[in-house]
């Protein structure tokens, strides 16, 4: 079979929204076939638009989990802050959790609004080199609920990628809601036009979390999203009084360590429970800056370092290819 030219694919393509998407005769050999069959494929014109907007982004990291409440937003916020601690790096944090946007509060930006300029929507800046976008900034009251079905959520995610003027960005961190649904399919679909370094997957030690996280890992494999590694959060608790360790969320099936071994994925690190983490998130402060001596801070810093190294490696590999 001959290689597909872009004009041939446009003419023969049954349409990414059609029932035959991914399964028509013309789909064989199309690089998007898998995505179409999974129900997610880029419209070529849209893809070009997104590619142009995201050209100025050097590295993109998705923060995922199958499970809710394991610390995705907490980690995304600290990852962004950790990377932005280097003044020469420009960092962007995009929160695509449309129903439960936690990022604005965690970054101390509650009540902020988004401004439009000639070049698009302006992110809300925490520091000069750290900009944030979230649906939270579009809501006028903390009681406002975003009760949207999938298609409307997808539309907003597309807008976030297309209309936000991120400028030149070294790291784009994307915080996601739990699950494997519209938001996840859409972000992978829209980002297929750009370069994604990979996903960091967050879990807690118990099987009830791991069973959902394994599904997320399978999702990543299905849509060919590279996995940078897994972070085991809430991994043990040191009593502030007697200093003994307890397993609040017991790793009854071996925790993330065993799962990573079985699935041949990198375990980026384990972060212990520290009551100060929740407190700083609630207050919109950086836990890393507020409690630098906590064992959790050293864990986070080492994990952030590993992610940075992974991204730098991607960059240098690409330069070699070019």
């Amino acid at each position: 079979p001959s290689p597909r030219s872009s004009s041939a694919s446009l003419a023969d393509c049954p349409g990414t929204g059609s029932a035959q998407a991914g399964s028509a005769a013309a789909c064989q050999g199309c690089p998007n076939q898998r995505l179409c069959a999974a129900g997610a494929a880029p419209d070529p014109a849209e893809a070009a638009e997104l590619r142009a907007r995201l050209r100025s982004v050097k590295h993109t990291v998705l923060v995922l989990s199958g499970k809710g409440g394991v610390g995705k937003s907490t980690f995304s916020a600290l990852l962004a802050r950790g990377l932005a601690a280097h003044d020469d790096k420009q960092v962007a944090l995009l929160d695509i959790d449309i129903c439960g946007p936690s990022v604005p509060r965690m970054m101390g930006l509650e009540g902020e609004q988004v401004h439009q300029s000639g070049s698009g929507w302006s992110p809300v800046y925490v520091e000069e080199n750290l900009g944030v976008m979230s649906v939270g900034f579009l809501l006028s009251s903390p009681d406002d609920a975003v009760i949207w079905r999938g298609p409307k959520k997808n539309g907003l995610i597309k807008q976030f990628l297309r209309d936000v003027d991120w400028g030149e960005v070294d790291y784009l961190i994307i915080d996601t809601p739990p699950g494997t649904s519209d938001e996840h399919l859409s972000i992978v679909q829209y980002l297929s036009a750009a370069r994604v370094d990979g996903a960091v997957i967050i879990t807690t030690p118990q099987e009830v979390s791991l069973q959902d996280v394994r599904k997320e890992i399978n999702f990543c494999r299905k849509v060919k999203l590279p996995i940078i590694g897994v972070v085991e959060n809430m991994s043990g608790f040191i009593c502030p009084k007697c200093k003994n360790e307890s397993q609040v969320f017991p790793p009854t099936t071996g925790g993330a360590e065993k799962m990573c071994q079985n699935l041949n994925i990198s375990l980026l690190g384990k972060v212990p429970l520290d009551p100060q983490i929740g407190k700083s998130c609630d207050k919109g402060q950086s836990f890393l800056a507020e409690v630098p001596e906590s064992p959790a801070t050293s864990s986070y810093r080492s994990i952030i370092q590993r992610i940075q190294e992974y991204c730098d490696l991607q960059h240098s590999q690409e330069e070699k290819i070019m």
């Binding site: 975003v146 649904s181 609040v248 009854t252």
Partner: protein, 271 residues
């Protein structure tokens, strides 16, 4: 067109109760499970409908994750859990070929299965049907409430942890309930303090008080605070009956009290 309420599979279900949160990982499935076990111990016939299609936790919490669903004349037969088969369950977890298979569906496909779950499961006679939900205010929630509306659900229990970040999401869930006409039975504050098993010092790992404040602010009943209890976490991992096996454990009193308030609210005298 679905059956009218009188002839439907939910006709012999006395009370339908949803467990919601805006926030993930606060303990919805845990509260649904423990509430079911407590109501069962009080002599009630209970079922759980798990509409979390991406992260179905219920099967494992009853140690029936390897069970399959069978069909009968009136629809799908629920899976019977517990040693005396006294709790009936339905979850997508039972329909997956492999437990690690990701259900990567967009809204419309999720909505179709939820409609089936609500109308096609042959629950038979139940005192309580507890509906466990995923976090958020999206397809699953809209579809579940719409499908349940003709069957007049009793209301919803909202679960939060004490921190502001959780309460912030649950406030939005309260708005969802208001907008969809779903009565809020009350708020449960979960993971409310951890008592060190070595020295008994209580640490507020996830902060303190947010759930009670939210209930006051929103004018809804506060059903109680459940502490972090490793014995509860362990029971859920092993699929054991925490209510029956660990009545002296730290989370027991709060969970039993929540169940009692539900029973009090649904006893013939109270209506």
């Amino acid at each position: 067109p679905s059956d009218p309420p009188e002839r439907s599979n939910l006709a012999a279900v006395q009370h339908i109760l949803l467990v919601l949160s805006g926030k993930g990982g606060v303990g919805k499935s845990t509260v649904a499970t423990e509430l079911a076990l407590a109501l069962r111990l009080a002599g009630k016939r209970v079922g759980i409908l798990d509409v979390d299609l991406c992260g179905p936790s219920i099967p494992r919490m009853f140690r029936v994750q390897d069970s399959a669903v069978h069909q009968c004349d009136s629809g799908w037969v629920p899976v019977f859990a517990h040693q005396d088969k006294s709790i009936s369950l339905m979850s997508i977890g039972f329909l997956l070929e492999k437990p690690d298979d990701a259900v990567v569906w967009r809204g419309p496909k999720k909505n179709a299965l939820i409609k089936q779950f609500v109308s096609d499961v042959a629950w038979g006679e139940l005192d309580f049907l507890i509906v466990d939900t995923p976090p958020g205010t999206s397809d699953e929630h809209i579809s579940t409430v719409e499908a349940l509306r003709p069957h007049k659900p009793l209301g919803a229990i909202l679960v939060t942890t004490p921190q502001a970040v959780s309460v912030g999401d649950v406030r939005r869930e309260l708005t969802f309930c208001k907008k969809t006409g779903l009565r809020v039975l009350g708020i449960v504050e979960n993971m409310s303090g951890f008592v060190c098993p070595h020295c008994s010092e209580c640490t507020n790992i996830f902060s303190k008080g947010g759930g009670e404040e939210l209930a006051k602010h929103a004018g809804v009943p506060f059903l109680g605070s459940v502490p972090l209890d490793p014995q509860l976490s362990q029971s859920l991992e092993d699929g054991r009956d925490f209510i029956q096996e660990f009545p002296k454990s730290s989370a027991f009193p709060a969970l039993a009290h929540i169940a009692q308030q539900i029973l009090d609210g649904t006893s013939p005298r109270s209506s």
